[in-house]
């Protein structure tokens, strides 16, 4: 598993995928947080990173499928999957190695944004006037969200040989699991089970962690969500290997 993890990460850095996603993420969040007047902290009036944590999931919806789309689809297309599958590696070695490598890139992308926290911390009218607990919670939320999206991306990448299809399906699934359930629950005739439906979606759990309260229910939700998609990926890999 470690060998796959290492190979994938070095692959991300030689193929520019890692740099491009980091650059895109930091550029867009930077613009939203400091430049665009509608969401800029400087015009916002409060020393908080809310606009960053609100925009980040939507960027992840596009960026994480871009990171994961090639991981299995490309191996299948180039035939290199045959090299991996005939080595003494279990399906879990391959799935987890690739999952952790993509997640590592997601976390690396988040690291530079700590500068935002530091800036707001310094710029507050009373220095340090920022809800640090909520920020820590939000980062944990983002990482959990990232792992959920990564598992979706890996799953769609395992479905076929086409990276574009893997990307498109992953974007749809990420978007739907993130906010689709909220939208469905607002349908009038489903009012009776509205609470249950929003509970299925990622958004509610992400928001709840973002408040700075790490509830075990939310943690279990994210972990089982990720495990479910990793299990599906493993099943697909084990079932049809050519």
């Amino acid at each position: 598993m470690i060998s796959i993890l290492y190979k994938e990460i070095s692959g991300f850095f030689t193929s520019l995928v890692a740099y491009m996603t980091m650059a895109a993420f930091l550029l867009v969040t930077g613009l939203f947080l400091w430049v665009f007047p509608d969401s800029s902290i400087l015009d916002y009036g409060y020393a908080g990173l809310d606009s960053f944590f609100n925009i980040a999931p939507y960027l992840f919806i596009f960026l994480i499928p871009a990171i994961t789309m090639r991981s299995l689809a490309e191996e299948k297309k180039d035939g290199t999957f045959e090299l991996l599958a005939t080595r003494p590696l279990s399906d879990w070695d391959i799935v987890l190695g690739k999952f952790l490598a993509s997640l590592a890139i997601v976390i690396l992308t988040l690291l530079p944004t700590l500068i935002y926290y530091f800036s707001v911390y310094q710029l507050g009218i009373t220095r340090g006037n920022i809800d640090t607990g909520a920020v820590i919670g939000s980062y944990i939320g983002l990482i959990l969200l990232g792992s959920a999206f990564t598992s979706i991306g890996l799953f769609t990448s395992s479905l076929g040989k086409n990276q574009i299809i893997a990307f498109t399906v992953a974007v749809f699934l990420c978007f739907f699991t993130f906010s689709g359930f909220d939208s469905i629950s607002s349908i009038i005739s489903l009012q009776g089970i509205a609470g249950f439906l929003t509970g299925l979606g990622i958004n509610q759990h992400y928001q709840s962690i973002s408040r700075g309260v790490l509830d075990t229910r939310d943690l279990i939700y994210f972990l089982s969500f990720t495990a479910l998609f990793l299990m599906l990926t493993k099943t697909i890999l084990g079932g049809i290997k050519w």
Binding site: S3, Y6, K7, S10, S15, E82, L83, T86, R87, P88
Partner: protein, 239 residues
């Protein structure tokens, strides 16, 4: 016996890719796997390397069953797939190091140098795999296959698309490797079989139509050339 195959079948939907084949391969020899396109050569190799499961029958490699002991089988096998897939963005040494990491080999640097020397990759060792010519890519594929020093080597058309000099270099390498290993190779080229194989299996439409040593096979067919024997056994009788 390093490879024992008994009554092996593989069905894709309605189509029988291989149909109840049985054969054995001895250590220290090269087994040539001959047959027209679509005869089931690659399918057999993919089953032996645990890439796809068989529909029925058993296959054992070094005493380990491919369906129940697949991890052990994969530890003992070196496989060069058809079309030689490679991680083109990796460097030669990096790709070999990756194989070393998978097999948890001690002193990988030493082994990398050995294998590079053995496969004649010395001048190309610091290039990316994607920058290599076809002949060197084939050598790199072979280098990956032999890296973990497997007891069994399975090579699917190892010399296809190479120029005559490269073909001879690869054949010499395979013959040297076969002194200590079991080698199964598939090919369309009759001269190749005559040059390096001790045992020949001819397979046609999923069934074995000949399984003999090269000399016995000739003897049984009145010393005809291997090419004629092949056509006789697998052709649709175009006389």
């Amino acid at each position: 016996m390093s490879i024992v195959v008994e009554n092996l079948s593989k069905t894709y939907g309605e189509q029988k890719a291989i149909n109840g084949i049985s054969f054995q391969a001895l250590p220290g020899s090269v087994l040539g796997f001959l047959g027209p396109n679509g005869a089931g050569k690659s399918t057999t190799m993919k089953i032996l390397t645990c890439f796809i499961p068989q529909t029925s029958g058993t296959a054992r490699v070094c005493g380990f069953d491919v369906s129940t002991d697949s991890m052990e089988v994969r530890r003992h096998i070196g496989y060069l797939p058809e079309h030689n897939p490679l991680y083109l963005e990796m460097y030669v040494r990096e790709a070999l190091g990756f194989i070393g990491a998978i097999h948890k080999i001690d002193q990988p640097e030493k082994r990398i140098n050995e294998v590079i020397e053995l496969c004649g990759l010395g001048d190309e060792q610091n290039k990316k795999l994607g920058a290599l010519s076809k002949g060197y890519r084939q050598r790199a594929g072979l280098a990956q296959a032999i890296f973990a020093d497997p007891k069994v080597l399975i090579l699917d058309e190892p010399t296809s698309g190479l120029d005559p000099n490269q073909v001879i270099a690869i054949r010499t390498l395979i013959r040297d490797l076969a002194k200590t290993k079991t080698v199964i190779l598939s090919t369309h080229i009759m001269q190749e079989v005559e040059a390096i194989c001790e045992q020949v299996i001819i397979i046609n439409k999923g069934k074995i139509v000949a399984d003999d040593t090269l000399s016995d096979l000739r003897l049984k067919h009145n010393n005809k050339s291997l090419e004629n024997i092949f056509i006789e056994l697998t052709g649709s009788h175009v006389h």
